[in-house]
């Protein structure tokens, strides 16, 4: 329930800014607010959850079920850490992304993401832009089903009218 409430809060957060946000949550809020823009790449969104447990004690910042199960790791800094988490997510989801504020995305991230089959989303004031498309993952079917079940139980199925 708490996670569903967080989704709603994130979707209605009136964030308009021109420079990088101060907190990771604001990046997450912006992703959720504009998630519909991702549908061209991942299909119609059916479920969205925040902080959904994916593997071990790790949680995806944003987890979306569209035609694929998609995890997004949002970070303000430390793209190496974000990339590592995103790579680990590929063991349980179909597509895995790193999301960072536009203008703060190091070229090294784009290169490494491409190498490891992870996507990169640039988060702007007014939307999202996929800079690197995530590769088609080969997650463990059993573990993926468990994660999808967690998402189903933790999010609203109407995805806030996105």
């Amino acid at each position: 329930l708490a996670e569903a409430v967080d989704v709603e809060r994130a979707q209605t957060s009136p964030i308009v800014r021109s420079k990088r946000p101060a907190t990771e949550f604001e990046v997450v809020a912006q992703i959720v607010k504009h998630a519909v823009e991702l549908e061209a790449h991942i299909g119609p969104i059916q479920l969205v959850g925040l902080e959904v447990r994916t593997h071990g004690t790790s949680r995806a910042d944003v987890l979306i079920f569209a035609s694929d199960l998609v995890a997004i790791e949002a970070k303000l800094t430390d793209w190496n850490r974000a990339l590592g988490q995103a790579v680990l997510n590929t063991t349980v989801v179909d597509q895995s992304y790193v999301a960072m504020w536009a203008g703060y995305i190091a070229p090294g991230l784009l290169k490494a993401a491409d190498e490891y089959g992870v996507g990169v989303i640039a988060v702007h004031d007014d939307g999202l832009e996929i800079l690197v498309k995530a590769g088609a993952g080969t997650p463990d079917a059993t573990a993926r089903a468990v994660v999808l079940d967690r998402l189903s139980r933790s999010s609203r199925s109407d995805a806030g009218g996105m």
């Binding site: 071990g56 190496n80 850490r81 990339l83 997510n89 079917a141 059993t142 573990a143």
Partner: protein
Amino acid sequence: VTVIKHLLAYGQSDQASFRDPRVEPCFDVMTVPGTIASYFEDATAAFVLTLGKPYLIDPRTPLFQDTLASPRASHTSLADWHGPSVAAQLQASGSFAPAFYSAAVIGEMVGELVTRQRNYGGKAGGVAPKMNRYLRLLAEARGDEPPTEEPSSDGPAPDSVLLPYFAVEDVSGPWWTVMQSIWASAAQLQAPKSLRPVVCVGKPGQPLVNSVDLLDQVLVQRPQDLSSNLLFWITSLDERGADVATLARLWSVVRDRTVEGVSLTNLYGGFFSICLGLAGLDGFGNGLGYSESRQWPALDATGAAPARYYLRDLHVFAPPATAEQLVSRQPAFVCDCPVCTAARASGRSIVAMDYAELKSHFAFARSWERDVVDVLGRAGVVTQLRAALANYIAAGLPRGIRVAVDHLDRWAIVLDAATP
């Protein structure tokens, strides 16, 4: 060839793994923590006495050293096993200064603990219904017919009887005096040569190599009228984190004391302890997925192991997703144990392995490690360690995913330089 003995610690959540007929050959002796043996008294006795494996009971006496501020129910039951004086002191204050352990209290404690261990097999007579249940579960796990005969009322005695022990910080301190009193008291009992001393050494904050030096000092002053088959615990010794000097010193202590006729078992050890078998170490102990090292004082803060996958070539645990990423990038790390093989055959990767599978895999991995040391020998293990490190680097994990592998090079250096 006699390979090093593996003592596997029993935990309440481990019953299925211990019954698994594939796991059974992976260890030699089951170590039952005194807390479990005393708190779940009937159930533990029924399980232990029906399993058909050698077992011993760890008295875990350091729980009653200095202060036990918030005792759990299992601590209270274990205190009963240490005699009425210890039990009363726990109720009264939970404060156990060296002065509390007078000759009378020590005599009571040693006598009570030894008697309880020596008579443990006799518990079978009082837990027949539970033993019947465990025998049925054991037969089921092994694919045997359900047992038709009633279990014996006299179960097997422990593989050996362990004496109470305390953590010693130096041989001029009061706890060393208490330890000597324990050994003197034990020497007065019947068949003292069957009683195994346990040596626990270490001082928080001091260099680990000093703790190994202290172990040597204590071993030099070991009791002559008790068993020469000693167990030791160097508090805070994490083999993977220990420096070269500490590990090299430990190798020489084990080698030198073994030559003198002492048989040594490390209560908490991992792969490096298996390698110490080449220096003469007789046995090593750990739990299913944890307890390769242990701090004191912190014995009262133990619990179940987290869900982790043991990367056997790297001799290290990792979160399952990390392990899966590594193994999928480096075929040399693919495990061929029955658990992993079955998981792969059913289309499941490491991240889908359940807790019981992770534990069973660890038991197989530990058995594989013993075989590696036995077959390859010291020089071969050095080669294996360096090859594993090279394979890890070649796997090319992203910088955000790390497995701690620094120990591989340190272990290789120690083994390379060691004198057998």
